[in-house]
Amino acid sequence: MAGSDVLERLIGQVRWQIKKRRAEFYGLRGAFYGAIVGLVPLLFKGAVGHIAPIVSLGLVGLGAAAGALHGFALRLSAEDVARVADRAFALRDRVATALEWASRPDRTPLVDLLVADVTARITGLDGRGVVSRIWPRELKLLPVPVFLMVVLALAPSIPLPTGRLPALSPLQDSESPEERAGKVLTDERPKTDKRQPLQHVETLERTLAVRQGSPGGSHPGDLSALFRDTALAAQRPDFNSFLKKGDERLRMLEQVDRLPDLKRDFTQSQYKLLFQKRKALFGGLRPDQLSPQKLRDLLEEMERMGRKGGNWGGDIGEGLEALDAGQTDRALEAMEKALSRMRAMEERGRDGRGLRGGREEDRGGRGRGGGGEMEADFSEGEGLLPGKGRSPNPKGDATERLRAIPYDAGVEGESRSGRKEGYDTNLLGKGASVPSRLQYLGVFGQYRKMMEEAMAREQVPRDYQAQVKEYFDSLEERK
């Protein structure tokens, strides 16, 4: 086609320019990395000898040449070249379009006009110097290895460490005690028995097991049991490291108050026993199918335990009275309450310190009457959400029925600050003994999502959308 020669000549010129710039770009990159590698012979100048600077320079040159060759050999399509030419001469994609369409069989008469137009525009244009030079980032860093090369070339060679490394293992120490301290000193020291060979872990455990049965072998605070199930048990005792840098075991021994009382059997607590009995009593039966006599026996056993210092005597008494009156439901309710108290007391006794969370004290200080007593059974965040309470019922205790005036109930709310801020809504009146709390942020997020879905789904006027959005924003600010 007429004009293609001019087009191809321009493409050829621009292609050569691009290849040249690429060679420069990658050549400088290669020189940088060559200079980095070239530092190595200079570092070992002593070993390499007087040819080290020449080798270094050779590596720099080799890197530059390899980079330039790589840049020059990179693939370059005619379309890319045409686009560069378009940008260089502000031809608004004429060259690229003409080049692409000139060889297409479905070209329209407008393509011929386009080629003619492009030819007229590029005739007389010089394709050289249209591709601007791009410097690689490595060029800024190139002076650093070059400077280091000069310094290393001028500096004396770095002495390399010679001879064998000192033997760190005591078993390989060939020097005898006499050689280190002299014969007289060693003679004055009492001779110790030959060191016992190290035993495997299994052997150690077997030995300990035998010792447990022996009189005086096991006593309160026997710390050997502490390590038996830890990773430390598998480690070889190394008393040198014990003394030098302080072993983890030493740190553990210092914290005596954190050590559990291993003598106590937590699996056979009062609460556990009674809970298992209660479970056996129910055995898949409905409350109305329970045997009143067995229930009475269990309540009486709980009452006996309560006399020794438990605070569930009142509940049990109420339960027995209810059983006498034939109200099994109330008796069961009282039993559950007593079990909760028993568990709470045991929990308090287990930590040994009777510490209470700051929030519990806050609750007590709010003066909500009977609510404080019940809340003491729960610690921070527990008993409020399904599965987090200490009640045997996985969903928590059932809300008590309001037997008093039906209007003797209300809801109060107050914001709660802390690590995770929230908003409490609590019942007033009889229901206050079973506080109901919802995580404000969780509820707010749910409602906000519902609002957004409704807005997206329904046709809501734009003005109203803004109002609803503002309302939710104002709620969010209270977080």
Binding site: R83, R92, V111, M455
Partner: protein, 337 residues
Amino acid sequence: MGHGDRVQEFVGAFGGLKAEVQKVIVGYDEVITHVLVGLFAGGHVLLEGVPGLGKTLLIKTLAAGLDFSFSRIQFTPDLMPADIIGTNIILEDAEGRKHFQFQKGPIFAHIRLADEVNRATPKTQSALLEGMQEGNVTVSGASHPLPSPFFVLATQNPIEMEGTYPLPEAQLDRFLFKLRVTYPALEELNEIIDRTTRTREAEVWRVMTGPEVLRFRELVREVPIAAHVRELASLIVMATQAQCEHAPEVVRRFVRYGSSPRGAQALVLGGKVRALAEGRYNVSVEDLHAVARPALRHRIILNFDGEAEGVDVDHLIGQVLEQAEGVSRRGKEVFLR
């Protein structure tokens, strides 16, 4: 006549028609250009602006500059589909026999102005759909072809939303361009006052006929487009979709639905008309940028956050263009490959 002459004829006709419109309409150079681009690309145009900015006058002036039949329908809530399309009426011939005859509605015109299109009910709006897309209407099972060229210019008012029925997305998508008519500048307003308060109004000459417009439409479609420009058009459209990997952050956050493939067609067709109107024989990247906003702004549906935050779709398209151009340039950079 050779193709070179036809191109020169098109350039002259485009400029001539624009000059005729500008005899009456002050300013709005870009809006007028885009309306003409829509006309020669074979699409329909939606104009949006507050009342009194001259949208209707612009369209009427354009119709006056073309030797076309022109009809105007003021859309109201009680307008029925039959009021637009037409209806069958009973006629009695000379022998006394009665028969149905289709009475054509105002849709059977070359240029149709649908004024305040969002005031009609969806049922009536949907009567436009078949005509706009297919070029014919069906009444009682019989199809009636619409005259060619068929060009719908609709206006709508962005305020006074009470009692309006926003055009559904499917119907919006059938408009090639959506143009925003904004307030005129001070000098333009002075000129408007001068022109409209005189005794003699400007006279508009007819400079183009229907067959000429059809010939120019064919010519426009012959304009070649380079592969990388076409790819950029596709990339722009893809980047309006939130799930696209090249979509900018603002699209991911605020867009519910991005542009359909019709958006890419509008970009390329609009670019072809612009290129030819400038006497160029190829579509350039700049052409795509010039038509991107009118071609895409009604095809991008914002999500709730976008609506509530008042995100400007034009601004969003600007970011889409930057992103797509960046991705395209990275591919173009010959040194780093």
